[in-house]
């Protein structure tokens, strides 16, 4: 399934790296539910969120600047950061 990382910039302890925001990738696997670190980091009663491993191609992330377009970056992204494309 293809997904896009939301282009948003909330303050705080966020585990979605800037370089992947707004980028489209493929779900590599589902990882299950984990307590949302954006709440957990502040001692809040964190809700569980679904976590995915998303695979991005280097050309999608870096465009012309990529070394080899078929190389990839896999990262763990929480569901509330993803939208279907």
């Amino acid at each position: 399934m293809r997904v896009k990382v939301k282009q948003m910039f909330p303050p705080g302890h966020v585990r979605t790296p800037f370089y992947l925001r707004g980028k489209t990738g493929e779900i590599e696997r589902e990882l299950g539910y984990f307590k949302n670190p954006e709440e957990l980091a502040y001692g809040l009663n964190a809700n569980k969120q679904k976590l995915y491993r998303v695979r991005f191609s280097m050309s999608e992330i870096w465009g012309e600047a990529s070394e080899a377009s078929n190389d990839t970056v896999d990262a763990e992204i929480y569901e509330h950061w993803l939208e279907k494309v």
Partner: protein, 211 residues
């Protein structure tokens, strides 16, 4: 040789670290206070704390090497490692606790390398403490953009036919690379194989030593 260095440089040109002649910081005081309360309330003990620190200090890449050597020699174990690396490493006595471990298999066509761009997440139960370069911004920012160049700096030249997969430990997973078993190692025992498996080969910035 004088032992009072002041601000001199060592013979290799590095500054000496200053002595810590300052009072405990807020956080150091807090740690001591919490530790003392926990001991007082019998929630933990000084022995348990000491043993835990020793256990943490004793973790080293030889733990990871045992897991990899078993995966190389036991296909059934490798299958379990690829499905659930936390459980498979626990089988050998290396408990990763609440974190989840994913094993990434290198093949003739795929080379895996791990990083944590946001901080320094690292499979400590299998590899011990991370090397300094793993925590530095230079490695963290460059490996996701130009992995081939970075790997070349580590002495690893990958042909164009090989796909590089970078794995960014952004949240709750930790990763370990299963490197390719070197050729002409069929006759080696599991224990002999562990000696070929380097820390860097399990991070993905190197390959195992040849037999």
């Amino acid at each position: 040789m004088p032992h009072d260095h002041n601000n001199e440089l060592s013979s290799s040109g590095h500054p000496y670290r200053k002595d810590q002649d300052y009072p405990l910081t807020y956080w150091q005081n807090l740690e001591i206070a919490v530790r003392e309360i926990l001991i007082e309330k019998n929630i933990t003990s000084e022995t348990e704390i000491q043993l835990t620190i020793e256990e943490m200090d004793n973790r080293s890449p030889s733990n990871g090497a045992k897991v990899i050597a078993k995966a190389w020699t036991d296909p059934e174990y490798k299958r379990r490692l690829l499905i659930d690396a936390s459980a498979a490493s626990k089988e050998l006595g290396f408990d990763i606790g609440p974190l989840k471990l994913i094993a990434l298999e290198n093949t003739k066509n795929i080379h895996n390398v791990i990083v944590c761009t946001l901080c320094s997440c690292y499979p400590r139960n299998l590899l011990g403490l991370p090397p300094d370069w793993y925590k530095q911004r230079s490695y963290r920012s460059r490996i996701v953009k130009q992995p081939r160049n970075v790997l070349k700096e580590f002495g690893l030249n990958l042909s164009e036919e090989i796909t590089v997969r970078v794995h960014d430990s952004t949240a709750d997973m930790r990763y370990i690379v299963i490197p390719l078993r070197p050729p002409q190692t069929e006759s080696l025992s599991e224990e002999e194989l562990t000696k070929l498996i380097t820390r860097d080969s399990m991070i993905g910035v190197g390959v195992p030593k040849s037999a």
